[in-house]
Symmetry: C2
Subunit: 388 residues, 2 copies
């Protein structure tokens, strides 16, 4: 890509991030009364519910901390990050280190999942906020929580998720991929302390990558065996693209060309089978054998797979210089910028139907917060910076 | 409606049920090797998975038993009903009376919900099959299971569904409505034995019916109080229409005009706010205050709300003679017959997008089995019979 084009793209990401996205969350999400952030925000930022979803609370702490650490030391950003971190510490994490999934506005628990993701995102939040606040207690809390998470990841029955004798699915891609990202954020430059765990998690992630099929399977059996069932055939292109760039970060850090090659492919295959040639955009779910997916929302176009795909394809291009990777980036970025942003009220729409029409007008909901959009914009901007 | 029109509709329901729907399940679903039924059936009836979903297994036992009892004593129907009943008895119900949500082809458990619906549908299956087989042990099993279900319905924490201090939702419409249907099927003519329970459940159902709002709320707080939150504002038109005719059946049996009037309204209101004036058909979810629903599938058109609506509006019309109820029936029946049936391969499609285009081609899946389509066709046919 010519430098002029790189500069144009960089300006686009910059403008989107700092004019339309970050200000939306700064203005509408902080709950200065009870702490934490409002998550249910309509198109114009007005609230339609006061519940606080822990995944999104934690991710927003991480996001504002990251902007403060890497972009600019704005006091308001540190303050917003702290507002969420303290709320999580006060209300989300129980004494046994389990964390709730959702809380009331005041911080009373409303739901807990038999999964480890609330805890994972809190580790990332506390670790990053520790660097903002300079208070080591946040990092200590992050590490204690991380140890529990790693123990549970080995056996989810410890947190009440039963395993039944008839189920052939043994591994879910989400677990190793999120944990690899958690370690990246928790450890920072001291990642070598976690070498053994990283190695194990990389092995577990690779169980899902099937070169013969050119597919990344969400759920596999023992030792990564392919299970020919609804569950075993699930493809989630956005998820495997995200896993691809998580892996690429580790490949670069570990200087492992073999892993780097696999990461390139995870993104390329997913962009290939995940793309809707008829209406454009990435499908949400597909079936590895081409059966009709059973998820009702399979053909929808969600904001986050497109966010992940912009960064993953751009990173591929930076590392390979391959025109095909560039074409992928331009394809997904053009679709994304022409469908998701809302320059009237800020932030992006989250949910489109197969045709690309908006089906959900809100900017924040139970699973959409201040995370995928600003993270992807920030990451793309950073890669473009390096390339320029 | 003139008699000639009634006869035409009756012929339509009859043909659909006995030429296209029942034969599909007779041919493709029985697993003569391991027992029970295959649930994951593609458009043409071929299998795309061998999992057995207990809701659907039980409902199919009920359906074939009902056809045998009420339509014709075909030996093949009794045999199919027995194939599922025995499979459920052997594999689905644990010693503590809890029932699994899904099983492998061979009957090994794969998942259990912290809900009571698997058990509810098994009660209906065993009770009805008892009448087919003439074996009282099925009815005894049904009654033992029902007693446990009623106990759990009082306090779902007994089956491991925690209640958290911040949650304001105290009641879900699904529980009283399904239990009222279960008692209708379990008790048959001896329903007076259950008078006290029926009365309690009717009171609980009415907590969800809001005359001032002309809405039926899925989730309400203590004493039926309206909770202004995402969860408290959920409307599910198909569900409240189904609850409407469940209530109407009890109103007729109890000769309670007050309940009958409420039941008319539940159906009318839901048809009113649930109907998509732009693209026709019933929405899947709505928000009581008009906010954008958060369910990703909110604007889809599913087969079962339309099945329920055909019968509920027709029953309203039979009881009231009101032309508005007839118009409602014709509106939903015309939409249904022009969108869901598949005369090439039999059974109906289950899932359409807002525009009415098929998004899922399969006939059977984790939540779609041999139930809503044949039950509605049978019920409509029976009402038309009475009217003719």
């Amino acid at each position: 890509m010519e430098t002029s084009k790189l500069i144009t793209w960089r300006a686009k990401f910059d403008q989107e991030l700092f004019e339309y996205v970050v200000p939306f969350w700064e203005k509408h999400s902080p709950d200065w009364q009870y702490g934490g952030y409002f998550n249910a925000l309509s198109r114009d930022g007005s609230k339609y519910d006061t519940s606080k979803y822990v995944w999104l609370q934690a991710r927003q702490v991480w996001m504002f901390s990251t902007l403060w650490l890497k972009h600019e030391k704005r006091e308001s950003w540190a303050k917003i990050a702290g507002l969420g971190a303290q709320f999580l510490k006060d209300h989300a994490v129980r004494d046994d280190q389990r964390a709730y999934f959702s809380l009331s506005q005041e911080g009373e628990p409303t739901w807990m999942q038999r999964k480890i993701f609330s805890e994972c995102f809190i580790v990332m939040a506390f670790a990053q906020y520790s660097r903002v606040s300079g208070e080591s207690k946040w990092m200590e809390d992050a590490k204690i929580l991380f140890d529990s998470v790693m123990e549970w990841a080995e056996d989810l029955q410890k947190i009440g998720r039963p395993h039944y004798s008839g189920s052939k699915i043994a591994h879910s891609l989400a677990v190793p991929m999120i944990l690899l990202n958690v370690i990246e954020e928790l450890a920072g430059d001291s990642w070598k302390e976690y070498s053994e765990q990283i190695d194990t998690l990389l092995q577990r992630m690779l169980l899902h990558v099937k070169s013969d099929r050119k597919q990344v399977l969400e759920n596999v059996g023992k030792d990564g065996v392919y299970i020919d069932s609804i569950e075993g055939r699930v493809l989630n292109p956005g998820h495997s693209i995200e896993a691809g760039w998580f892996l690429q970060h580790w490949a670069q850090r570990l200087k492992r060309d073999d892993l780097s090659e696999i990461a390139f492919n995870m993104v390329r295959w997913s962009m290939d089978y995940g793309w809707d040639d008829e209406h454009q955009g990435l499908f949400y779910f597909l079936d590895a054998e081409g059966f009709n997916p059973t998820q009702l929302e399979w053909d929808m176009k969600l904001w986050w797979p497109h966010c992940e795909a912009m960064y993953a394809t751009l990173l591929n291009y930076k590392l390979t210089g391959d025109k095909k990777d560039l074409a992928s980036f331009e394809k997904v970025a053009n679709y994304t910028f022409s469908h998701f942003p809302d320059h009237e009220h800020g932030e992006w729409y989250g949910y489109l139907n197969r045709r690309g029409e908006i089906t959900h007008s809100f900017k924040g909901g139970p699973y959409k917060g201040c995370f995928h959009v600003p993270r992807a914009l920030w990451l793309c901007r950073s890669v473009l910076d390096e390339m320029i």
